[in-house]
């Protein structure tokens, strides 16, 4: 995997500015904004990371997976059980084995464990399930949400069932979210613009041709699926430590749809687009709330967002960025090299995204 690093291009400057801006924003927020404002920004960041990872597994690879909330649940619960104060863990979760009941980890290893657990579940589940395509995969991954929720709901001694876990230490702050967001963006970006990304794109465009060209389809799809699940698990862990509260109902079918919305509105396959759409939707929802309160018309925000959604798709069906990343962030391709981030001969393929 090689990127043209021969000179400091325009895109390096753009990334540098964005990184500096993000760091400045977080520094300002942590120092000057209220708990509520920081929480909203926190969720915007988490959603952005979730959208990026979904854009990678769904948009780039063409998988129609609605399973993200299930992986968030795995990551969230695993991390929460690990960070839960040891003095309360024993009697609140009597079913835990002793070694688990006595440990109390800090956020980073717990988040990592959550992400890995989610990736493991994805790998195990993906093995049979990823043979399915399109809407069939959607239903199967939807089933995953339901099955996992039922399991968590009934494993009272380990998860406290319907009551859920509360009093989870509020470890998540904007720095952690920024860090993980950066990692997700970096990893997915690098993979997307590498031969791995090109293999995934080939699978999306035409699986049979890709197989003929020697692309290891099953392994590639599994890897993309597991990677998406890893970041979903991390997202769930960060979520749990931001909200301090986790129940089997925390991550449901509606969330799955919302994430797909963010990916499509941002442009399937565009990582930056997905992130921006996620942030926009989250902040818009919060910004419009005073309107709803003033009018006493509850449900107005949802209606407005739905209308905006419909309008956006009518006016710009390929999403904001289509499959391309914004041009000033992409390295200028060397003559003759293919750039999976740009439109071109692939444009017709966009019409067949996620076809069954």
């Amino acid at each position: 995997m090689r990127l043209p690093m021969h000179s400091l291009g325009r895109h390096h400057l753009a990334w540098g500015l964005i990184a500096a801006g993000a760091v400045a924003l977080v520094a300002y927020a942590e120092g000057h904004l209220s708990g509520y404002e920081r929480t909203v920004l926190g969720f915007a960041g988490i959603y952005a990371m979730l959208a990026i990872s979904l854009s990678f597994s769904n948009g780039l690879t063409g998988l129609f997976s609605l399973g993200h909330p299930a992986f968030m649940m795995v990551g969230g619960y695993v991390a929460a059980i690990l960070t839960f104060p040891a003095n309360r863990k024993g009697f609140m979760l009597p079913g835990l084995p002793d070694w688990l009941a006595t440990v109390q980890w800090p956020l980073f290893p717990a988040t990592l464990a959550g992400g890995l657990a989610a990736a493991l579940v994805a790998a195990v589940v993906g093995f049979p399930v990823l043979r399915l395509r399109g809407h069939y995969l959607a239903v199967a991954t939807l089933g995953l949400i339901v099955i996992l929720r039922t399991v968590v709901n009934n494993a009272n001694d380990v998860t406290r069932g319907a009551l859920g876990l509360n009093g989870i230490p509020r470890h998540t702050d904007l720095w952690w979210i920024l860090a993980w967001l950066a990692v997700a963006l970096l990893v997915c970006w690098r993979l997307k613009h590498s031969s791995v990304g090109r293999s995934l794109l080939a699978i999306r465009e035409n699986e049979m041709a890709a197989a003929c060209m020697g692309v290891p389809r099953a392994r590639a799809k599994l890897a993309a699926f597991a990677l998406g699940a890893f970041f979903a698990g991390v997202g769930g862990a960060l979520w749990a430590h931001l909200l301090t509260n986790l129940t089997p109902g925390s991550f449901g079918i509606t969330l799955a749809f919302m994430l797909v919305v963010m990916v499509v509105v941002g442009g399937s396959g565009s990582l930056v687009g997905a992130a921006l759409a996620a942030v926009a939707v989250t902040l818009l929802g919060e910004a419009l709330r005073p309107l709803e309160q003033a009018a006493g018309a509850y449900g107005l925000v949802q209606i407005l967002i739905a209308l905006l959604l419909i309008a956006t798709l009518l006016l710009r069906p390929q999403g904001f960025f289509g499959s391309a990343e914004p041009s000033f962030l992409r390295p200028r391709p060397r003559a003759g090299a293919a750039d999976p981030g740009a439109p071109g001969p692939h444009s017709r393929a966009e019409e067949r995204e996620m076809s069954p």
């Binding site: 399915l132 995953l144 339901v146 929720r149 749809f257 107005l300 009518l314 966009e350």
Partner: protein, 298 residues
């Protein structure tokens, strides 16, 4: 576990399956022709249920008026949604339609909550429909008999329609290849509108039966039927009408059996078992029960 008990559960599954089949087939009809997952389908059902409520319980009109109302409201509403939200998107990627229909669904739900309040309302069909009959030792209400019979009749009628009538054939042609159909002189837009109208009418009928069976309506009641329609249609094989029906019945039986035939303590695992079963089916038949791998585009 007596035969009487088994028979009763069988009948329960049959009735639930019929309602699911009705919702699923309307959903599949729309999918078949425009490749659109219509999440607003469940909310069309909800609006029709409320229309029936208005006709029967607010205006006090007889049952046939309510039936007429749900069919008409369903058809018109569905066609309207197509005209306003989906037609402008014909050329866009498939998943856009999915998201647009989601947007329409959210819109309808929240408008309903805003205008009608979130409180559930009782919904009672005329008493003669709710009397119990003895069927081979098991119990069925008249409504249940009507539900099963109506579903089968409607499905037979649909089959006839798509096989024998011009409009039906036009719809199938459009579903297979809109461009070729247009070249052959088929009025594609009309065929599509008909599909939506039929789908909406079926949703309306399902809404009447669903509400009548449950006894209660509320603005959010469309979410569950919409989801079941999606699941049933996919299991049956997306785009296949017969498959949607089969999927609906399979879903109905599975739900009843996982509660009725397993020891009571497993009742809370019902949804997990049902989905587990569905996933297993998909693994064996990756294109659903009757689906064709026709979407392979080289």
């Amino acid at each position: 576990m007596t035969t009487g008990y088994l028979l009763q559960q069988l009948i329960n599954g049959l009735v639930m399956g019929s309602v699911y089949a009705l919702v699923a087939v309307g959903f599949s009809m729309i999918y078949g022709i425009v490749r659109l997952i219509n999440f607003a389908h469940g909310d069309v059902l909800m609006v029709c249920a409320f229309s029936a409520f208005a006709v029967l319980l607010v205006f006090g009109l007889p049952l046939w008026a309510a039936v007429l109302a749900v069919l008409t409201v369903g058809a018109i509403l569905a066609m309207l949604i197509d005209l306003v939200a989906f037609r402008p998107q014909r050329a866009a990627p498939q998943v856009n339609g999915f998201i647009t229909s989601l947007g329409v669904a959210i819109l309808m739900q929240n408008l309903a909550v805003l205008l009608l309040s979130g409180q559930p309302r009782p919904f009672n069909l005329p008493t003669w429909l709710r009397t119990n009959l003895d069927v081979l030792g098991a119990r069925m209400t008249v409504l249940e008999v009507v539900t099963v019979g109506l579903t089968l009749a409607v499905l037979a009628g649909l089959l006839f329609f798509v096989r024998r009538t011009r409009l039906g054939i036009a719809m199938r042609a459009t579903a297979e290849n809109p461009t070729a159909a247009r070249l052959m002189g088929v009025r594609v837009n009309r065929a599509i509108s008909t599909a939506f109208a039929l789908g909406g009418a079926l949703a309306g009928l399902a809404g009447l039966l669903w509400a009548g069976r449950a006894g209660q309506i509320d603005p959010l009641m469309g979410f569950v039927p919409g989801l079941k329609a999606f699941v049933a249609a996919v299991i049956g094989g997306v785009g296949s009408l017969a498959g949607a029906v089969l999927g609906g019945y399979l879903l109905g039986f599975a739900e009843v059996f996982f509660v009725g035939l397993l020891p009571p303590g497993y009742g809370s695992f019902r949804d997990a078992f049902v989905f587990g079963l569905l996933i297993l089916i998909l693994l064996v038949l990756p294109n659903g029960l009757l689906g064709r791998p026709a979407e392979e585009r080289a």
